[in-house]
Chain length 380, copies 2
C-alpha cells in the first residue's frame, strides 16, 4: 500500500496581504501574540508595520528578535522562556528562514517541554503547538509552508532537522511587496534553496502526483524569472518568484528533500555557511550524482530548464544541469567550496555529519560517507 499525504497551511498570497495579519491572528484566538523577527527585517520597516497593524486591531504582543542565520538552540530556549513569562498564545513569525525556523522551535518547546534536541528527526512531536501565522520576507526556506524546522546544535556543531506535521503553520501570508525591500544580494542565495526544494522534492522517492505538479511549477517559474528579477528587481518578476517559492514549499514539505540538503545542513552546522550558498555550490553535483537513479525525472527537469529535448534522457538531463551551472555562474554567487571555507581538513568530519542527516533517507540514490566526501571534494 502506498499512501500519499499532502498537507499545507491556509495560504494567503498577494501584494498588500500583510494587512491581514491582525485579522488572521485574531481568527486563531490570539490575545497576546509572540512576534519573532530579526534586525534585518526591522531595518526594512516591516516589523514596525506589523506592530502598527496589530495595534490597530487592538491586539497585544511581545517581541523577540534574538535570531541569527542558522538559528541556534540557545536562541530557541531564550525565546521559549520569554514566551512562557509573557503568557503569549499565538506565534507570529516575520522574516526569512531563520526567524521562521526559530519561531517554530520556540512554539515546539513551549508546548511540548524539554529541549529542542529532544525532537530532532521525524515525527517526535506529541502535543499540538500554539497557533502560528507566518509571513516570509523572502522565498527560499518555505518554512511558512513546511513541516520542517532546522536548528543548530551549538555543542555538536550540527544542524538538527525536525519534521512534524505539527510544525505546519496554520496560516501563511506571503506579501511579495516584502521582497521589494531586499537587495539583489539578499535574494540570490535563497533562490538556490528554492531551486533545491523544487529539484530534490521532484526526485524524492516519496514524491506523489500532488507534490510533483508543485515541484515542476516551482522550477518552471524560478527558471523563467530568476534572471529578469535579478536584473531589474521588478515586482512582477519578484511576485512570480514568491509564487515559485510557495509551490516548491508545497512540494518539499510533503515529498521531503535529499542529499543536497544533507550536504548543506552539514556545512551549515560546522561552518555557519549560508544555506542557499551551499545549494548554489552543490546542487549541480548532487544532480549529477543522482542522475543514474532517476534519469527520466532528471530529463523532465532538464526539459523545463532548457526548453529542449535531446536524443537521450540522460543528455536532456545533463543539458539541464549545465544550464543551471551557467545560471549560477552568470548571476554571481560562490561556485567553489574553496571560496568560502578555510581548508579541506574538516570535510571528512562534515561528511560524517551529512551521512547522518535525515534528509538522506529521501534521496533517490544511496550515498555513503565516501560518496559524500567525493562530492565535497569535487566542489572544492
Amino acid at each position: 500500500m502506498s499512501t500519499y499525504k499532502f498537507a499545507i497551511p491556509e495560504i494567503i498570497f498577494g501584494r498588500g496581504s500583510l494587512d491581514f495579519v491582525g485579522v488572521c491572528s485574531r481568527r486563531l484566538g490570539a490575545s497576546k501574540i509572540f512576534v519573532v523577527s530579526d534586525p534585518g527585517v526591522e531595518e526594512a520597516g516591516w516589523v514596525d508595520k506589523v506592530f502598527a497593524i496589530l495595534r490597530q486591531e487592538g491586539l497585544d504582543f511581545v517581541y523577540f528578535n534574538d535570531v541569527v542565520a542558522n538559528p541556534r538552540d540557545y536562541q530557541v530556549e531564550r525565546g521559549a522562556a520569554l514566551y512562557r513569562e509573557t503568557g503569549a498564545d499565538v506565534v507570529l513569525a516575520l522574516g526569512g528562514g531563520s526567524p521562521m525556523d526559530a519561531a517554530k522551535g520556540i512554539a515546539l518547546v513551549v508546548s511540548n517541554g524539554g529541549r529542542i534536541q529532544d525532537y530532532a528527526g521525524a515525527n517526535q512531536v506529541k502535543n499540538p503547538l500554539p497557533p502560528m501565522v507566518f509571513i516570509p520576507s523572502t522565498m527560499g526556506s518555505e518554512s511558512n509552508i513546511s513541516q520542517f524546522t532546522v536548528i543548530t546544535d551549538m555543542e555538536r556543531h550540527i544542524k538538527m532537522t525536525i519534521i512534524s506535521r505539527t510544525l505546519v503553520p496554520n496560516i501563511s501570508i506571503t506579501d511579495p511587496l516584502l521582497l521589494g525591500t531586499l537587495t539583489r544580494e539578499l535574494i540570490i542565495a535563497p533562490l538556490f534553496d528554492s531551486l533545491a526544494h523544487a529539484v530534490e522534492s521532484y526526485v524524492s522517492p516519496i514524491a506523489n502526483p500532488f507534490t510533483e505538479v508543485q515541484s515542476l511549477k516551482g522550477l518552471d517559474l524560478l527558471i523563467r524569472h530568476i534572471r529578469p528579477a535579478l536584473e531589474t528587481l521588478d515586482m512582477d518578476d519578484l511576485e512570480q518568484l514568491a509564487i515559485a517559492g510557495t509551490s516548491s514549499g508545497m512540494a518539499f514539505t510533503n515529498a521531503s528533500v535529499g542529499l543536497g540538503h544533507a550536504l548543506a545542513h552539514a556545512l551549515g552546522g560546522m561552518f555557519d555557511v549560508v544555506h542557499g550558498i551551499s545549494h548554489a555550490l552543490l546542487l549541480p553535483s548532487v544532480m549529477r550524482y543522482n542522475l543514474p537513479a532517476c534519469t527520466k525525472k532528471m530529463a523532465t527537469i532538464g526539459r523545463i530548464i532548457t526548453g529542449q529535448e535531446h536524443t537521450t534522457e540522460e543528455a536532456t538531463a545533463l543539458a539541464g544541469i549545465e544550464a543551471l551551472e551557467r545560471l549560477r555562474d552568470d548571476i554571481g554567487i560562490p561556485t567553489r567550496l574553496r571560496e568560502i571555507l578555510p581548508d579541506k581538513t574538516l570535510l571528512p568530519k562534515v561528511s560524517q555529519n551529512a551521512e547522518k542527516d535525515i534528509c538522506l533517507l529521501t534521496n533517490p540514490r544511496t550515498a555513503t560517507w565516501k560518496d559524500i566526501l567525493n562530492i565535497y571534494y569535487g566542489a572544492w
Copy 2:
C-alpha cells in the same frame, strides 16, 4: 490589491488508506463519531468496513443514513437532531456528494444553530464546526476537499449553495479502492461534475496561479483516463481519476465555479436531476457561451483536451469543446434536456433560479435570465 487564497484539507490518498479513518478521527479528538453515509455505500460494504475499523480503534459512533441524491433541508435537520441527542463530537462522511454535503449541513447546524437556510450564500458561517473526516466513494463532488455544500430547499425547490472556509473538512481520505465497487453507470455522471469543476475553476475570474495548476492537472488526467477507465474499470485508471477529482477540488474550492453550476443547481432543485448529468448536458454549451470572455484560457483547455493547436485561439478552443461533446456522446449519457425533462414549460422559472445562483458571480461572462434560458433551450 489582489489577494489569492488557497485552503485545502489535509489530504491522505492511496489504495487502502481507508484504514487510517480511526487514527485520523482520534487525532481530531473523537470520542463519539457521527457517521453519515447512504444505502448505496452500505450495499458496497464500505460502511461495515468503516464500522469495523472504528470498533478496532475502540471508538464509539452513531450512524445516520437518511440521505438521498440532492440532499434535502429536512434531512439535515433530522441529522442535526440525532447528532445533538447522541452527544457526538466528530463528523465522518463516507460516500458521494450527497452524504458528504448532508454531513456538512449537519455539522453546520449543530455548531451554529438555526436552520440550514440561514447560511445560504458565501461567508455566512460564524462559529467553527465540529472536526470533519471525509471519505469520498467517488470523484465528482469533491466535497471532501471543498468549502462548498449544496442542500435542496424543498419548499422553494432550489438548491442552496453554502460557501464557507469552515466547511473545508479537516482531513480528506481518498481510497481509490472504493471506486472499484461502483458500476460504470455510477461513475459516468460524477466524471462530468469533475470536468465542470476543472473547466469552470480555470476560467473563473478569481482563479490564481495556485488554482490554475490544479485545474489543468485535473482536466489533463480526466481527459486521458476517462475512456480507458470506463472501458475496463481498471484500478490504475480509476486511481488517476481519483487524483483528477482531488486536483479539480483543490482548484474549485478556491477559485469557485460559474454558469454551468448555476444552471445545474437550478435544474437539480426543480427536477431532482442528477448533478453530473446536468453538466454532461450543459458544459459544452456553457463553454461556447463563455468563449468570447476567456478565449486564451479556453484555448489552453482545448490544447489539453485535443493535444492540438489550431491557427487561432478560438479554433483551438472550439476543437476542445467538440472533442468534449464527442467524449460525452461516445460514453453514453443523456445529451439533450428533452431526454430527462417532461416538457419545456418550467424552463423560464428554472432560468430565474439559475440567475440568482451565487456561482454566477464567478463566471467570466455575465449571463442574464434570457441568456440562461437560451442555453437551456439550446440544450433541449
